[in-house]
Symmetry: C2
Subunit: 341 residues, 2 copies
């Protein structure tokens, strides 16, 4: 199912990354000959896993080598760190052990087995890269489809455990940094008009959560009666529109000395603090990212985006061997100081 | 009235300046042949002023050249800035215009005319320098006394308008930075035992004020039945004792990562903020001064002490041509950034 109508070149430097941190496309697929995961026995899970593993091996020429990760053997902190880095879902990280993950070395392509569906094929790219991410997931889907019998209905499209995913079974999302619109209280208003267009926006840290660090996830909701291309085009157009609104709001905000002051104070604190809690750090990095993107600070927004992921508890615990919260707060401050110096 | 029993060498680098910012000695003198200032006519004030001016001119060999400043002609902002720099009293800065000031170029010696008394001879030195400050004020007093008829009683000593100054008519004070003792709530307790010793401690910004920036003024209270030497020795001994307590409390505090963190965060904010209100700046500088004195920060405590004075509204308005509060907040942040960079 190749996708060719896009505005987005497939490679090069990240696009729109002053506002868009990353793009993710997930395709849900199920095997025709097995019940959905919720009603699947342990034995059935093993069979599904074996079939997918064999298919991935057979498709290696097309999709490259994928690492097989038995989630039962993966330390919990590594699983949670993967969720923090958006490589797997939070649910999958916390799930009972009878599941497995196929993962490309660069983590741009992953396949969760027996999450909500038998397969969740996911592509993750920096910046705004809907067509590139879709192309990657789509290529994996096509290659695996040659060796697997997908549950597919000519009328409904791909069949999924949850009916809200029926059809394309595609969920595409972009991670947005909207400090200026959020400060103006305009994200809530945006949210209403977005839902009328069949899309949704929410705080990046869980449903209905407050948007810590002004990070929001915008994704398509409708999967039935629409093609992947149409859904991606809608998401692309809306993302560009929101990014433009955010840019205008930032330009206004940075003319205000009080805003400029907040940006510089946040930068100063992060450059020197010896102790940073994750919520505090995220809030301060949000100001710094805005200042960096606006050319006010001598930092690249990409460095700040990396920090926003790296500062999260499990990822930090792994990278800095910091097990307890107090040690993590120290390690977090140290990591940020190093990155900003 | 030379003073020779001290522990303090008269010159060199400031002493105890991790804790003691400055030392001030004031001698109150009145002329025998005139009523005290409260009951003095405008004509009487002019005569007093003329006599003191002539005496200062005659004593120039001993006390050096002093500038004559007619307070009526001094812009209010300059007068207030002098009070902020402790060169004159706040009352004198705000007083009705019929008064004058004699001021040495380096501002270490000043003589207020018709403040509460006919003459207030004041010496101001950095760090702990009670004997040096007293020697300076005393030399001026002696030299002027050769040309003026002071109101002096063999039994009571120097006569002053307010009876609480009778006797030595000397008020010696040290400006202390006590961030660690203040944070522990121990200054209030100190205050009780200090008053039993005939001394007093209070917030540096006016009687009973909260100690903004953890700055406190310790001074002698008793002027009757005590010699200048005894009063200065008591003050010296108590200052050294409090400084030692403060140092121990700081050493304990700086072992606490939360304290260390506060110090570094304050430093970061001050290095980068674009906008700083004076109270906020003073509070942050207090942390930075503590870190600087503790060798934690690459700043000299003397630089921070200078900033603590220079950031005050009138002094800042003069040095940076900043008339309104918003411009001053910008100029204050700029000045501090420059000093810390």
């Amino acid at each position: 199912m190749p996708h060719d109508k896009t505005n987005q070149p497939p490679a090069g430097a990240p696009h729109e990354d002053d506002v868009v941190l990353s793009t993710r496309v997930r395709l849900a697929r199920n095997l025709r000959d097995f019940p959905f995961p919720a009603r699947l026995s342990a034995e059935g899970r093993q069979k599904v896993a074996a079939q997918v593993r064999a298919a991935a091996a057979a498709a290696e020429d097309a999709i490259g080598p994928l690492q097989w990760i038995d989630m039962a053997r993966l330390p919990r902190v590594k699983a949670i760190s993967m969720a923090e880095r958006r490589v797997i879902s939070a649910e999958f990280a916390c799930q009972s052990p009878q599941s497995a993950l196929l993962l490309r070395n660069d983590e741009a392509l992953s396949i969760m087995l027996c999450e909500e569906d038998h397969l969740r094929i996911q592509a993750l790219c920096p910046g705004l890269a809907l067509s590139a991410a879709f192309a990657l997931a789509d290529a994996a889907d096509t290659a695996l489809g040659k060796h697997l019998a997908y549950a597919f209905d000519d009328h409904l499209g791909y069949l999924t455990q949850c009916p809200t995913n029926l059809g394309t079974a595609m969920r595409a999302s972009v991670l947005l940094h909207l400090p200026a619109l959020a400060a103006l209280g305009r994200v809530a208003r945006l949210s209403e008009s977005i839902s009328k267009l069949g899309l949704t926006i929410r705080g990046a840290f869980g449903e209905g959560s407050d948007a810590e660090g002004a990070l929001f996830q915008l994704s398509n909701q409708v999967t039935l009666g629409i093609t992947e291309s149409q859904a991606l085009e809608n998401l692309q157009a809306l993302t560009l529109q929101i990014a433009e609104q955010e840019r205008r709001a930032r330009a206004d905000a940075l003319k205000d000395p009080q805003w400029e002051n907040k940006v510089w104070r946040a930068y100063g604190i992060l450059k020197y603090a010896r102790f940073l809690e994750s919520g505090d750090a995220l809030k301060l990095l949000s100001y710094v990212r805005m200042g960096a993107a606006g050319g006010l600070l001598p930092v690249s927004p990409a460095v700040v985006s990396t920090l926003m992921t790296a500062l999260q508890p499990a990822t930090l615990a792994l990278s800095r061997a910091a097990d307890d919260p107090a040690t993590r707060d120290l390690a977090r401050a140290e990591m940020i100081r190093e990155a900003l110096s």
